[in-house]
Structures are given as C-alpha cells and as structure tokens.
C-alpha cells in the first residue's frame, strides 16, 4: 500500500541548509560593500589630510613668497638703475684687457707658413675690429695657401699685385681671441 505524505503545517517547511547559505551570501555581500566603502573613505581621508596640510602651508608660503619677490624686484630695479653704467664700464674694460695681441701674433705665425712675409700688420683692440695685413710671397700658391687658412676668419682680400716676381696682397680678417 502506497504511503501518501501530507504536510499539515500552515507554512512551508524551510530548507535549513539553503537558508543558511542564502544568509551567508547576504552577510558576505554586506561585509564586502561595507569594507569597500570604509576602504575608499579612509584612504581618501588619510591622503587628503596630508595634502591639505601641505596645500595650506603652501598657500601661506606663497603669500610670503609673493611679498618677498615683489620687494626684491623693486630693489633690483633700483640697483640696476644705480649700478648698470659702472658695471658696463667695468665689463668693457675687462673685455679690452682680455684682448690679447700676443695670441693674435701667435695665430699669424701659425697661419703664415714659410715663403710668406708679413710686410705690414695692423691690429686694433675692439671686438669687431679686423686685422689688416699686407703680405708678400715669392710664389702665388703660397698666398693661396694663406688665403685657404684664413677663409674661416671672414677673410677679405682688398687687392693682390705682382711686382717684379713678388706677389703682394692686402687682406683683412677677424681672429678669435684664443684666451677665451
């Protein structure tokens, strides 16, 4: 004879294991949400506190800095006005004192090889001044060799003459100061 089970309870019977699992999942999700929230907020708070302190002190410093800068700028303008001319005069003197005639003569000795003779030479102590030189050679190729050496120094050839087998040229150029 077949048994027929009847549930006479008013409400459905609860599956204890399933209910516990559901409860567990709910609790876990709750814990996870809360943990994420707490993590987000505390991290933000920690970082913010440090940065806000920095930015507050930066703002204070910036104010002081701006005042100091303004006052220094004003004083620099005044000092420039008072000392610019004496400074320019001193710098110009130093520049002229540094100008070396010996260095220029050394350069010419290296540039003019054998077979050439410098007949006249004029050097002026000025930054833009050019060396003027009259040079003679027994063969024209000696002069050409000299021209080649002087080409990088803004060489200008005024004239070249041949007088009784002697080649004579008037040139000018600019020699850099080797002391610099």
């Amino acid at each position: 004879m077949k048994k027929i089970p009847y549930n006479l309870a008013r409400e459905r019977k609860i599956d204890g294991r399933r209910f516990a699992r559901t409860l567990g999942v709910l609790l876990l999700a709750l814990a996870a949400f809360n943990a994420v929230t707490v993590f987000n907020l505390t991290r933000l708070q920690r970082r913010d506190r440090a940065e806000q302190t920095d930015s507050r002190s930066a703002v204070r410093l910036l104010k002081t800095l701006k005042e100091q800068t303004r006052s220094q700028q004003e004083q620099i303008v005044l000092m420039k006005k008072a000392w610019e001319r004496p400074l320019a005069a001193a710098n110009s003197l130093i520049e002229r004192k540094r100008f070396s005639f010996v260095a220029r003569l050394d350069f010419l000795e290296r540039a003019c090889g054998s077979g050439t003779l410098v007949r006249q030479l004029s050097i002026v102590n000025a930054p833009a001044a050019r060396v003027q030189m009259t040079v003679s050679a027994l063969a024209q190729n000696r002069l050409l060799q000299l021209y080649k050496k002087l080409l990088p120094y803004e060489l200008a050839i005024a004239n070249e003459n041949q007088i009784a087998g002697d080649y004579l040229a008037r040139v000018s150029f600019r020699i850099p100061d080797e002391k610099k």
Binding site: L23, T37, L44, S55, I76, M79, S122
Partner: protein, 172 residues
Amino acid sequence: MKKNKLLVTVLLALLAVSAAGCLFSFAYVSWQELSRQNRLRALQDFELQEKAARALNAEYREWQKLPGALRSFRRRHLLSMDEFAAFRRELDARLAANGLRAPRIDLSFGASRNGMRKVLVKFSLEGSYRELKKFIFAMEAKAKMYFFGSLQLSASAGKVKGAFTMEVVLGE
C-alpha cells in the same frame, strides 16, 4: 518562519543601504579626486613660483654683492696717480729689458667718466720681431688696467717698426 522572513528582509535592506553607500563612496572619491587635482595643480604652481623666487633671490644677492665687487675691482685693477708713475717706470723697464727704446712717448689725458680717467699713451719702437713680441707679452701679463689699444707693425730691412697705442685707466 516569520522571524526568518524578517531577518532576510532586514539583511536585504542593509545590503541595499550598503550598496548605495558603496556607490556613493566611489562617486565621492571621484569628486574628491577632481578637487585633489586642482590642489595638486596649485602645489605645482607653488613649486614653480618657489623656483622662480629662488632664482630671483640669487639675482638679488648678486646685485647686492655688486657694489662691493666693483669697489674691489677698482681698488685692485685701476691705477692711482702714484701707480701711474709706477706704470711709467714699468714701461721704461720693460722697454730696456727687451733692448728697445722709444724716442718719444706722447701722453694724452682724457676726461673723467664714471670715476675713471683714460690716459692714451702713444709711442713708436724699432727692433726685432722677437723683441717687440716679448715686450707686448710682458705688458699684457700685468694685472693692472692698462692694455694696448692698437699696434701697427711694418717690416723693413730685417727690423720691425711698431707704432703702439696703450690705454691706462686711472681710478678717481
């Protein structure tokens, strides 16, 4: 059964509140991140301004040192009238040491400018190229503020003739 239902309902409500809180925390963090970016930008500006201020401060200190440096430059390098006499002796000594003689030396005193007076010294020499170069070298090596303004050399019969101008700066 009722208790269980209530428990689940409460838990679901709490879960909803937590989820909302979590979402809010993300939104809040993003919003704070934006204001943090502004703060960081302000900090960077501050660093730039601090750098500029440091450079300006260095320039300011240099300008403050300038009067002293110029005084020291004048004291050490410009010649007083007494030292000008010493310069004349030095010039004669250097000429004699190199076997040179200047038949004539012309001096012309310029006007005073910026507390300085220039004296132009003109002379001509005749000797070997080596002697003239040694003389130029000896005069250039001196620390005092006198220097050659120009020189013109011309070669003739184994000798070199040189026309020199020198400038001597006197401090007043």
